[in-house]
């Protein structure tokens, strides 16, 4: 029996063989670093600012009836006085800031999922609204803005009957 076959192949021999193919580890590292930086800077313009840094970005729903438009937005942890609602002719803007609890001076978070910061959201209005009758209420962390459609907008909607040909 050939005793040499039982002995594992020398390590030195193996690495020497591989080195011929592989690039120098330092160069490989530099390439890797370049790739990481490229990905990072590419990511910068691919994402909107607010999502990148995990700041507060509330979600809203819009519901509609024949007579009014209702906008609801999730604002947990805000007070009525932290919220600013403004209306222009064709858009509704909701601004505010979700403040972090500042009372504790010795805070150490072991887990952080909620987001904080100021936000501003503007939505275009689907139709003309009666500005004087817009109503905003805040309850259980949800802001509800009800915008009654203006008389003109109501009249403009015309039902068209579909007849068989």
């Amino acid at each position: 029996m050939d005793s040499k076959k039982l002995i594992p192949r020398g390590k030195e021999q193996e690495t020497a063989a591989q080195e011929g193919v592989q690039v120098h580890p330092l160069i490989a590292m530099q390439r890797e670093m370049n790739r990481v930086f490229e990905d990072f800077s590419r990511g910068f313009d691919a994402w909107p600012l607010s999502e990148r840094f995990g700041t507060f970005n509330p979600s809203m729903n819009v519901a509609e009836t024949d007579a009014s438009v209702q906008v609801t937005i999730e604002l947990p942890g805000l007070d009525e006085k932290d919220i600013e609602v403004s209306l222009t002719k064709d858009s509704l803007t909701i601004r505010g800031e979700k403040k972090e609890e500042k009372a504790e001076n010795t805070k150490s978070y072991s887990h952080l999922e909620r987001t904080y910061g100021s936000f501003s959201r503007t939505i275009p209005l689907p139709c003309e609204v009666n500005e004087d009758k817009v109503n905003a209420s805040f309850k259980r962390g949800i802001l509800t803005v009800t915008l009654p459609k203006s008389g003109q907008a109501l009249q403009e909607t015309k039902k068209i009957p579909v007849r068989p040909a």
Binding site: W47, P48, E51, G54, N57, S59, M60, N61, V62, A63, E64, T65, Q70, T72, E74, L75, P76, G77, L78, D79, E101, E104, T106, K107, S108, Y109, S110, H111, L112, E113, R114, T115, I123, P126, F138, R140, G141, I142
Partner: protein, 135 residues
């Protein structure tokens, strides 16, 4: 907005395996902050649409479950034309360590945020030991 970003805002709660829901509404996992202080652990959870009456907190052995019921917010006659957030209840469970004093857990609810204060048991509290100079 990307799907991943949306997921980060409102995640659907995972159902325990082999369990079927008996209610048609979706259940979401609220975003939670856990803050450790000297004598207590404070847990805050964002649960918009939940108030103190619709909040249900149970403690079974060392499993603390919070469940917030949300009334369907879209009023009758309204049709949803644009939706960023899903409407549904909130649920999340926590495993408490031995150091929490179970009898003194407090929960408050304000503006859709639940605040749970879990006091540390006397044995688990950090104590400062004074060092005296030897005479």
């Amino acid at each position: 907005m990307t799907d991943t970003a949306k997921e980060m805002q409102k995640k659907e709660a995972a159902t325990p395996e082999g369990v079927e829901r008996t209610r048609p509404e979706k259940v979401y996992m609220p975003a939670v902050d856990i803050m450790e202080k000297k004598d207590e652990i404070v847990v805050t959870a964002d649960m918009p649409g939940v108030d103190e009456r619709s909040m249900d907190i149970t403690l079974e052995k060392n499993i603390l479950t919070i469940y917030g019921k949300v009334d369907t917010e879209v009023p009758k006659g309204h049709r949803l034309v644009y939706a960023e957030y899903g409407i549904g209840d909130y649920a999340r469970t926590f495993t408490l360590s031995e150091e929490v004093d179970r009898d003194r857990i407090q929960a408050t609810m304000k503006n859709g945020v639940l605040r749970l204060v879990l006091p540390k048991a006397a044995a688990a509290r950090t104590r400062k030991i004074e060092v005296k100079a030897e005479a």
